[in-house]
């Protein structure tokens, strides 16, 4: 294969405006799911209920938008549902000592059944629900930026939720490192006893973190149901809650890391769609790629971390 062909392939399948747009779009729910995993993992909680929280978010976004004929009401309803599910999750696992993983699995199974049931009970539909009354989040053209060539095309023209996600990445970073609550949250995650003896209310912070994770996840649901398609489909979270855990691990528990890891996942997704259209190879291998990549990355990161630690120790040893 000579270089021109390779460049051609790269341009056609990877680096073109449509792909980059697709990448940023498809990464949005993953970023939000990643932040959901991040905020809990930094508080020392393994939250695998993201999947269920996203499902509820997606359903309530559609329901809110349908009944109020207003997309923002949908967003608000979804966020409220996220906070409530998060609160219940926190209540049961933190207050009533339910096993946190079991609780997470149970919530995911429960959310699956509950959203299917609710669609049938409220909308008398099975499988999916779409209606003209559902208002979606429309694309917003960013002033000034939209007129810049290429960059304008890549960065402008997304729905509110995409921009909100980018802002949330920045806000979460600020929160973690620049505010007392962020400091407390990280202290609780790393050494809860230390935090406790200083009068920090550990259960309250964890409670708040789980509720916040519910809100992040619900926004991922909003993107899925209102950000693009304006419809609700059964099981539309499609594993993004779990992918969120992957990108959080991949991104080292840092918001910006989550963002970058998510764009990588988004890119793989977009390429997958393209290649599927071109019938070059079975799409299943492309779909498998992010998960394999996460495993490989985890292994490489851990190995590198161990090596770095060893190097640092060796350094220390020399200084002594």
């Amino acid at each position: 294969m000579d270089t021109t062909v390779l460049l051609d392939i790269l341009q056609r399948y990877v680096f073109n405006v449509a792909n980059l747009q697709g990448m940023l779009r498809l990464s949005t729910p993953i970023v939000l799911a990643g932040l959901c995993a991040l905020i809990t993992s930094r508080a020392g909680i393994l939250n695998i209920a993201g999947e269920g929280m996203i499902l509820f978010g997606a359903w309530f976004a559609v329901a809110g938008s349908y009944f109020a004929e207003n997309a923002l009401v949908g967003v608000a309803a979804a966020m409220l549902s996220g906070a409530v599910i998060g609160g219940l999750f926190a209540l049961f696992s933190l207050r009533f000592r339910a096993h946190i993983i079991i609780m997470g699995i149970a919530i995911n199974i429960f959310a699956n059944a509950a959203t299917i049931f609710l669609t049938r009970a409220v909308f008398k539909q099975a499988g999916a629900f779409a209606a003209p009354r559902i208002q979606g989040l429309n694309p917003i053209a960013l002033p000034i930026i939209k007129d810049i060539p290429i960059l304008g095309e890549v960065l402008s023209g997304y729905s509110l939720i995409v921009y909100l996600t980018w802002i949330l990445v920045a806000l979460t970073t600020l929160f973690l490192y620049r505010t007392p609550w962020g400091l407390h949250l990280r202290a609780v995650g790393e050494n809860p006893q230390a935090a406790e003896t200083l009068g920090i209310n550990v259960p309250r912070i964890r409670f708040a973190a789980v509720m916040a994770s519910g809100v992040y996840a619900s926004l991922a649901g909003v993107y899925l149901s209102l950000g693009h398609l304006k419809m609700y489909t059964d099981q539309m979270a499609a594993g993004r809650g779990y992918i969120g855990m992957a990108v959080n691990t991949f991104g080292g528990g840092e918001p910006i890391g989550v963002f970058l890891a998510s764009t990588l996942f988004g890119l793989v997704d977009t390429i997958g769609w393209r290649l599927q259209g071109e019938r070059i190879m079975p799409v299943y291998f492309i779909s498998m790629l992010p998960y394999v990549a996460t495993l490989v990355a985890l292994t490489v990161f851990t190995l590198r971390q161990q090596r770095a630690k060893r190097a640092a120790l060796a350094n220390n040893a020399e200084e002594e």
Binding site: L46, I48, F92, R95, F96, R97, A98, H99, I101, I102, M103, I105, A106, N108, I109, F110, N112, A113, A114, I116, F117, R120, A121, G239, Y242, M245, A246, T249, P282, Y284, F285, S287, M288, Y291, V292, T294, L295, L298, T299, T302, L303, Q306
Partner: protein
Amino acid sequence: MTSKMGTLQRHLRGAFQRSIGIVLSILAGVFVGSLIMIWYKQNPVEIYTLLLKGAVGSQRSIFIAMQRATPLIFTAIASTIAFRTGVFNIGVEGQFFIGAICGTFVGYAFALPTIIHLPLTLLAGFLGGAAWAYFPTIMRQKLGISEIITTIMTNYIATHLISYLTNYPMRASPTTTETPPVQATTRLPQFIELTRHWAKPLGKGTQAHFGIFIALAVVAIVYFIFKRTKLGYELRMVGISFPFSEFGGIHLDRAFIGGMLISGGIAGLGGIVEILGVWREYKNLFATGFGFRGNLASLLGRQSVIGSLVAALFYGAMEAGALGLEWAAGIPRQLIDIVIGLIIFFMAAEGMWDFVKRIKWVRAPEAARKSTQELEV
């Protein structure tokens, strides 16, 4: 030394303590479920009656419950083994499917006498599941990477891998997404197939099959392993404490990896048994969620072998009831899934029933329990 009488009383008290939480959880779940049913403009009493009938009301419903419970017994036992070895095997889901596809391949690709073919097929299922558990196990053991994340990843990889296999190399014909049927020599007979000509056939209108006997045999074997064998002792000790086991001379890697491989293997065995008994060919993602529900059943059974069996049977009965409800009254079976979910929430929430322990008779007089931390103070 405690007297026989005292021991008995303690057992009774323990049993009461354990069961009171379960009973209250079921009541609470049923109650909240009733509220939902009323909101759905249904009469809860009628629905629960139908549910019970669907679960255990007739010979047919019992056989349906048995069929639903069979794969859950495997996945619950698989989770329990992992739990007892100190691992949370969320990967049971993926191992179940991989075991199924591996076994299916052996089941259709070879023509052998039953006496060889059936065990070989089951073995292929076991090995497939074990192999799928291998990588997360190694990553945890050698690199300390949480098995929760890695097994979630391997679950998805399994899903996509199998989609590929059933859509390309293993499909029966270019127009289907199923594998060819397994040979008759490997099929596990369904009760109805054997008793069709009886005056009163067993399991009429159900696909309940002989896999239940394999499931019960696995329960018995695993119970025996834990109680009576070196391996079982090693698994339990490794599950309780790595440093202690290592210091005592137990080969950590062997016990830990062994435990996980057996866990994965039993999950895979569950997958192929489900194929051989019910489906007879691999339909893409023929039965999702058995793994996760197995995880739940194991915890509800308090991570004991017998408890897992009971929980899996209960789960199976509820599902049978839900199906019956949908057939008989057109009520979405998800409504019952919701009730089961609620019951699980309440059961898992041990702290919710703490007040029970404050009742005088229930409270043990000399509950001498100290944590490591308190001992060190």
